[in-house]
């Protein structure tokens, strides 16, 4: 998964590297992974851009998007599909 990492190094999505020796493998997970987009790479925000975002976060008067809660459907609506 491109985004869920504990680091912010450039992503290495084209191939899943073999597990380093000594590291536990995921049980029952094969080495044949989902092909991820080629050429995916992380580009750091510039300091100026990061500061601009931080300024907005700190600005109590900046318009806020609350998002919107989406109702939950019962999974059976998809299971009954042919």
């Amino acid at each position: 998964m491109p985004g869920t990492t504990d680091h912010n190094q450039p992503l290495q999505p084209t191939r899943v590297a073999p597990e380093p020796s000594g590291c536990a493998k995921d049980a029952d997970v094969t080495d044949a992974g989902v092909p991820l987009p080629p050429g995916l790479q992380a580009v750091r925000l510039s300091e100026k851009a990061a500061q601009a975002i931080q300024t907005i976060i700190d600005d109590e008067t900046h318009p806020v998007s609350e998002g919107r809660e989406m109702p939950t459907a019962d999974a059976s609506v998809l299971k009954k599909k042919p």
């Binding site: 985004g3 869920t4 992974g33 989902v34 050429g39 580009v43 510039s46 919107r68 998809l78 599909k81």
Partner: protein
């Protein structure tokens, strides 16, 4: 009356429902379908990643009023140096993968809000609930993807040239 989407938490028993998921044929589109279709035994697929990052990755399917599978979304956690490289890492929200089936692109046409806007509103809402994370919502965008939805563009106003490291604020939706 708007066609409002509903969410369904993604689980293994819903794999048959995504078997025909089609979000396009471009190089950066096909992996998004492969990600959601992958059984839990396939590394880097949604289900194996959900198991690996238990509690740190949520994946939802989205259905419309006709109970058709429109798309899916996901929300995870990461630690980014913030605000600038070299600063301490802070926990942030990230959208690892989000996709809408090709036949629903730009829909609903005459009755907004569009599905894409509804999905991003949902992700913002979910991100805001993660109060243990910094109010940032990261989105990875392939630089070749010039056909981003208006919602994506709204979130990606700080997208640097050609970057896929796009950041918006989940609490401020600063776009």
């Amino acid at each position: 009356m708007p066609d409002l989407l509903r969410k369904i938490p993604f689980t293994e028993d819903l794999l048959p429902a995504v078997a025909d998921f089609d979000c396009g044929d471009e190089e950066w589109e096909k992996p998004l379908a492969a990600w959601i279709k992958a059984p839990p035994t396939v590394k880097n697929g949604a289900l194996s990643q959900m198991a690996k990052y238990k509690g740190k990755l949520d994946v939802w399917l989205h259905v419309n009023g006709a109970d058709e599978l429109v798309g899916y979304s996901s929300l995870g956690a990461s630690n980014w140096e913030w605000p600038t490289p070299g600063d301490p890492r802070v926990p942030v929200n990230v959208i690892p993968c989000v996709a809408i089936q090709k036949r629903f692109w730009g829909c609903p046409k005459g009755d907004p809000p569009r599905y894409s806007a509804q999905i991003f509103d949902h992700l913002i809402f979910q991100a805001r609930k993660r109060t243990e994370r910094y109010p940032l919502l990261g989105l990875f965008v392939d630089p070749r993807n010039v056909r981003q939805s208006p919602s994506t563009k709204r979130l990606s106003s700080w997208n640097t040239s050609g970057s896929i490291w796009t950041t918006g604020s989940s609490t401020k939706a600063c776009c």
